[in-house]
């Protein structure tokens, strides 16, 4: 599955896009937790992160399908 990072989060991780293996029973939160384990800098972002699956906002306990695109969305600041 693909994980997309943006703005401050992309800068801190040093990547905008990651490929992670899918695991049975994955949720948004379980994928995020594996990312935190691999990139501890992500931990500080977690309290204010929002999530999108295939370009729709979802919650951390929502299931993830194999091959999905998960976006980690730091607090937005458009306008």
């Amino acid at each position: 599955m693909t994980v997309l990072l943006f703005a401050s989060l992309a800068d801190r991780v040093g990547k905008r896009k990651l490929e992670l293996p899918y695991e049975d029973g994955d949720t948004v939160g379980s994928v995020r937790d594996r990312l935190v384990a691999a990139y501890p800098v992500v931990a500080a972002f977690v309290p204010s992160l929002m999530y999108a699956l295939n370009e729709e906002y979802v919650r951390a306990n929502d299931p993830v399908a194999p091959g999905a695109t998960l976006a980690l969305i730091p607090p937005v600041s458009g306008g």
Binding site: P47, L49, A52, E55, E56, I73, V76, S77, G78, G79
Partner: protein, 153 residues
């Protein structure tokens, strides 16, 4: 509806022409522009990042909702990305409606919702540094502040 995330300069005339209608008695245009200061710091320029496909999807949802809530005839919502200099427009919203009140209210609501929900981010670049801004109005920051008991800004 005209919905677009683009690195090209925003064209007010295009948006106005797009929402124009014989039924409209009002067209309200909002431009968000790059200001040369932020919290007492001198801003050199801004850089906008976006998740373009999702941003357009969310902008379309917000525009549909605005049409429904305020009875608007049509909406244009455009956001620019990349490096923007002082005075350039980053956000362009144009709405048309039968009468002026809905055009002001609908336009105001649209701007607020864009700032809450659309996946776009700005980085301020100063003479001596730079920082990605976490929007105080963003849903993500408001949720985390409620969770920690801090009051939203």
């Amino acid at each position: 509806m005209l919905i677009r995330v683009t690195s090209d300069p925003l064209d007010t005339d295009e948006a106005v022409q797009h929402v124009a209608s014989p039924d409209a008695g009002a067209i309200n245009v909002f431009l968000g522009v790059v200001r040369n200061n932020s919290l007492d710091r001198v801003v050199d320029y801004l850089v906008y990042d976006a998740y373009p496909r999702m941003a357009e999807k969310v902008m379309r949802e917000i525009a549909d909702e605005a049409r429904e809530r305020f009875g608007l005839i049509d909406c244009a919502v455009l956001h620019r990305t990349g490096r923007l200099e002082i005075g350039e427009a980053s956000l362009l919203i144009a709405v048309s409606s039968g009468h002026r009140a809905e055009s002001f209210e609908g336009g105001h609501w649209l701007v607020n919702e864009v700032k809450k929900r659309v996946p776009v981010w700005k980085k301020e670049v100063w003479a001596d540094g730079e920082e990605w801004i976490e929007g105080p109005e963003s849903l993500g920051l408001q949720a985390s502040q409620q969770a920690t008991g801090n009051r939203p800004l």
